[in-house]
């Protein structure tokens, strides 16, 4: 059973078996990811890239193999298209401060969507403040779907960049990013896709999407914390100025001038999170062996089951009812505040998130302060959905 490979799931909370439904915040990790981390610390504990001794050579080899695994998972043309980052947030900030900052002027426009996570809003607000550029937003409808009929007209001759989320962490909406990218490219606008919530659930093929950049968080795709990857098209990575200055990203330094190293080293200043990169590689291997389409299928089974089960809770109002959805459920229950629900069902072992989920503009749209969010992964079960429903009924009973 796949589920048994995840030791973090085998525990009890308040004496009840853990029902972990907070996967959109962070996933659990399979044993082989933990083993890969420990194998590095126990048997290959060295810094990478410049050592001639054996430990350093094997650590370097493991780290670069991980990059190759991730290139295969994303179907990148080469592992040289991948930059290791701390997570999606760093990926977006890196692109904003290098690629976009170097080609933007006052009055230019950056286009995002109403479904973005704060990590794909605030970096652009900061950039706009720094440069005088203007932030534009693709609107959404009451189902939590983007109004794509407005996209064409939002892509003006002033638009310099578009950055959009693949799957919404708050509502589960799956955006038709391939189509959106094609529309942007028609106007010559390069596109970053925030894949934080897509990679754990869907097959992602950066060449098929034809995105200019794609970024993922390791900790959400069953990998270590502090790990992640930014994919960039080779010509962009070559042309972009570097990000951090430091060790590894240079090939020659004098006090007068510095020659930067080749891509991707140019963007990886300093000692990276070596154990994290290696662990993330193991997560990628795990996902490929399990099969991304198997994972996606299982997700959809769970989504359908949970949608049905939750609809039977009296007074439960679902927020976000897109046709194309990941197994993420945002909801409120009449007369009980989300935080109270979160606290109460935690005592039934059920872990969900409550609040605005770092997407305040989405909840401003709906006139809500936030929601309860149950986010599932392929290792969750129908029984766990049943426990969630029961626990919600208990919370209701307590408040009656």
């Amino acid at each position: 059973m796949l589920r048994e490979q995840f030791p973090g799931l085998q525990q009890t909370v308040h004496g009840k078996p853990l029902v972990y439904l907070d996967n959109a915040a962070t996933a659990q990790r399979p044993q082989r990811v933990l083993d890969a981390i420990m194998d590095y610390y126990l048997h290959h504990n060295a810094n990478i890239h410049r050592g001639v001794h054996s430990l350093s050579e094997s650590a370097t080899a493991l780290y670069e193999q991980a990059r190759q695994s991730l290139a295969r998972l994303l179907n990148a043309p080469s592992d040289k298209n991948l930059i290791f980052v701390r997570g999606c947030t760093e990926g977006v900030n890196l692109v904003a401060q290098t690629f976009v900052r170097s080609r933007i002027q006052a009055g230019d426009e950056i286009l995002i969507s109403h479904l973005e996570h704060h990590s794909n809003i605030v970096p652009w607000q900061i950039l706009c403040e720094q440069t005088g550029a203007v932030l534009k937003v693709i609107p959404m409808n009451d189902q939590g779907e983007l109004q794509l009929d407005q996209l064409d007209q939002l892509l003006t001759e002033k638009t310099r960049f578009m950055s959009v989320v693949h799957v919404s962490n708050a509502l589960g909406t799956i955006n038709p990013v391939k189509k959106m990218i094609a529309m942007a490219h028609d106007k010559g606008v390069p596109v970053l896709v925030d894949g934080a919530q897509a990679m754990p659930h869907l097959p992602v093929d950066v060449q098929d999407l034809d995105c200019d950049f794609y970024t993922v968080s390791g900790h959400k795709m069953y990998g270590p914390t502090g790990s992640g990857v930014l994919f960039g098209k080779a010509e962009h990575l070559e042309a972009m100025p570097p990000y951090h200055g430091g060790g590894e990203m240079i090939s020659k330094v004098t006090f007068e001038s510095t020659v930067y190293n080749a891509v991707p080293a140019k963007f990886e200043a300093g000692t990276p999170h070596i154990a994290g990169g290696i662990g993330l590689g193991a997560a990628a291997e795990f996902m490929m062996e399990t099969g991304m389409s198997q994972i996606a299928d299982r997700d959809q089974q769970l989504r359908i089951y949970a949608e049905q089960a939750l609809s039977e809770v009296p007074g439960l109002k679902m927020v976000g009812t897109a046709v194309e959805k990941s197994p993420v459920f945002s909801f409120n229950i009449d007369g009980i505040h989300a935080h109270d629900i979160g606290t109460i069902i935690d005592h039934c072992g059920v872990a969900i998130r409550t609040g605005h989920h770092c997407t305040m503009p989405i909840f401003q749209y709906f006139g809500l302060a936030g929601s309860c969010r149950a986010s599932l992964a392929f290792y969750n079960t129908e029984q766990e959905v049943d426990v969630l429903v029961e626990s919600l009924l208990k919370a209701k009973a307590m408040f009656e």
Binding site: H337, D340, T343, H347
Partner: protein
């Protein structure tokens, strides 16, 4: 009784169902808005102070049961108190709610002591304390308060 039941049963749910001094009063002399933006808790506190005495204490807002009940309890507890006394009580309350100790009750806080169970739920402490910070701000003439830092 489990911590959860302790937290919610009795007092909190009762106050949540039957909030005392809830709603914007017709007049007031002091007001402050308490907002914990990160968790979305919002509570307004309206005071009528004359001759250094808290003649009336009202609250309004939308938040979780703990936040609402804490405000309801606070208004009941505070009405009629001198400002000076209240400020002493506020100091005691902060000690009661300090997660670094495990005091279950402090003399002189009466029913407020039921809130001490919240310390078992660290992420919820701010819900219980927000209205008190808002009231302290109102007394000091400060229009906004938060417990975030």
């Amino acid at each position: 009784m489990s911590d959860l039941n302790k937290l919610y049963k009795k007092t909190v749910l009762e106050h949540n169902r039957n909030p005392r001094n809830y709603g914007v009063p017709e007049s007031w002399t002091h007001h402050s808005e308490g907002l914990n933006a990160v968790c979305g808790d919002l509570v307004h506190v309206y005071l009528t102070i004359s001759e250094d005495c808290l003649q009336a204490v009202h609250y309004a807002g939308e938040s979780c049961a703990i936040s609402m009940a804490s405000a309801s309890l606070m208004t009941e507890f505070s009405t009629g108190m001198s400002v000076e006394t209240w400020q002493k009580k506020f100091k005691l309350f902060k000690q009661l709610m300090d997660k670094n100790n495990d005091l279950q009750e402090i003399g002189g806080l009466g029913e407020i002591n039921t809130l001490s169970t919240v310390k078992k739920f660290p992420s919820r402490i701010k819900s219980a304390t927000l209205c008190w910070y808002a009231m302290a701000a109102a007394i000091d003439g400060i229009p906004n308060a938060t417990t975030e830092n």
